[in-house]
């Protein structure tokens, strides 16, 4: 039976796969990571985002830099493809931007091959499993959605989520009095 340290290692591996996938730049949750996190929660572990002191090492930052540069390239190219216009309103040739996204996908897969075990995105601290904080909010946003710590729009629209929200007992806000 796997120890909790081995489970956190596996969580980091799954997170690496999620953040190097084709949809890494999209604000969507990764099913495998979320299911694994839910299993850890059911064992009594708390999963949360760390604060400004839970930072990556210099070695890890090299990986984060590359992942963020590639994800940023996909975001920028996707934005151009969506709107298809240059600053001056001229229509752009979009093939090149699809190529940029393909190049980023290849780069992300290379990262996955180079770092098959991932890096320490999460670490164990007692009963808490903490996601470290990257200095880049583009990366932090992406990883928070991928691991389900931010709720993606597609989940907000599901029947299960709407039913849960409807049946939730909201605490009274004392400031409303």
């Amino acid at each position: 039976m796997a120890t909790i340290n081995q489970k956190v290692d596996h969580l980091n591996k799954l997170t690496m796969i999620a953040i190097t996938s084709k949809d890494a730049y999209m604000h969507t949750a990764n099913k495998e990571v979320c299911e694994f996190i839910n299993a850890l929660k059911s064992e009594g572990y708390n999963i949360s985002e760390g604060d400004e002191f839970d930072i990556y090492t210099d070695y890890e930052m090299r990986v984060i830099d590359r992942l963020t540069a590639l994800i940023s390239q996909s975001i920028s190219a996707d934005e151009v493809i969506r709107y298809g216009m240059a600053d001056d309103g001229e229509e752009l040739e979009l093939d090149q931007f699809y190529n940029y996204i393909s190049d980023s996908e290849i780069g992300l897969l290379e990262c996955r091959v180079n770092y098959p075990d991932g890096i320490r995105f999460f670490y164990l601290d007692g009963d808490d499993i903490i996601l470290k904080t990257a200095p880049y909010f583009i990366f932090q946003d992406c990883i928070m959605y991928k691991v389900g710590l931010y709720v993606s729009e597609e989940i907000l629209k599901t029947k299960e989520y709407l039913e849960m929200a409807a049946s939730a007992v909201w605490e009274k806000n004392p400031l409303d009095d």
Partner: protein, 161 residues
């Protein structure tokens, strides 16, 4: 005493200051870089964009850090615009302004951290070549800042290779 003729190192250092400045995201050319390139041209050099002069892995790490900070500025500016459009007077873009401030600080930190600076241009056979990176965000910004791409999309650079 008169200074010796300019070198590619001078050009690269000026370019390094341009790409790690708070204005790296601007489409405005950096005066010192343009001045150096003009002097090279006046001395008979041609300036090319090169497909074969690529960056080494250690240099790519620097570029990747610059790309991440630059992208953060572009992304945050875009989110500010969207928030202002959606929320009007109720918009609170301060969180994004903070991200822009962090990114500008990050770029300046790169300047201090990598004192050997990036060699974006190389001299070969009487020509100056701008090396190519795999990141189009960086390429585009670099070409604007060096005056090799003008805001009105006037491509003033010749393609080599």
């Amino acid at each position: 005493m008169k200074k010796n003729k300019i070198t590619v190192d001078d050009l690269n250092f000026a370019t390094w200051l341009a790409i790690t400045s708070e204005e790296f995201n601007s489409n405005e050319a950096h005066a010192a870089v343009v001045d150096y390139l003009d002097k090279f041209r006046a001395s008979g050099y041609r300036v090319y964009m090169s497909g074969t002069h690529r960056y080494h892995d250690s240099e790519l790490r620097i570029i990747e850090r610059i790309v991440t900070w630059t992208a953060q500025i572009i992304y945050a500016e875009d989110l500010i615009q969207k928030e202002l459009q959606m929320m009007g007077e109720d918009a609170d873009p301060s969180i994004y302004a903070h991200q822009i401030k962090d990114a500008k600080k990050g770029l300046l930190k790169c300047r201090k951290q990598f004192q050997d600076f990036l060699k974006c241009f190389v001299e070969e056979d009487g020509a100056i070549y701008l090396r190519s990176s795999p990141y189009f965000i960086f390429e585009e910004r670099l070409m604007y800042r060096t005056g090799l791409l003008l805001p009105e999309m006037d491509h003033s650079l010749e393609l080599a290779d």
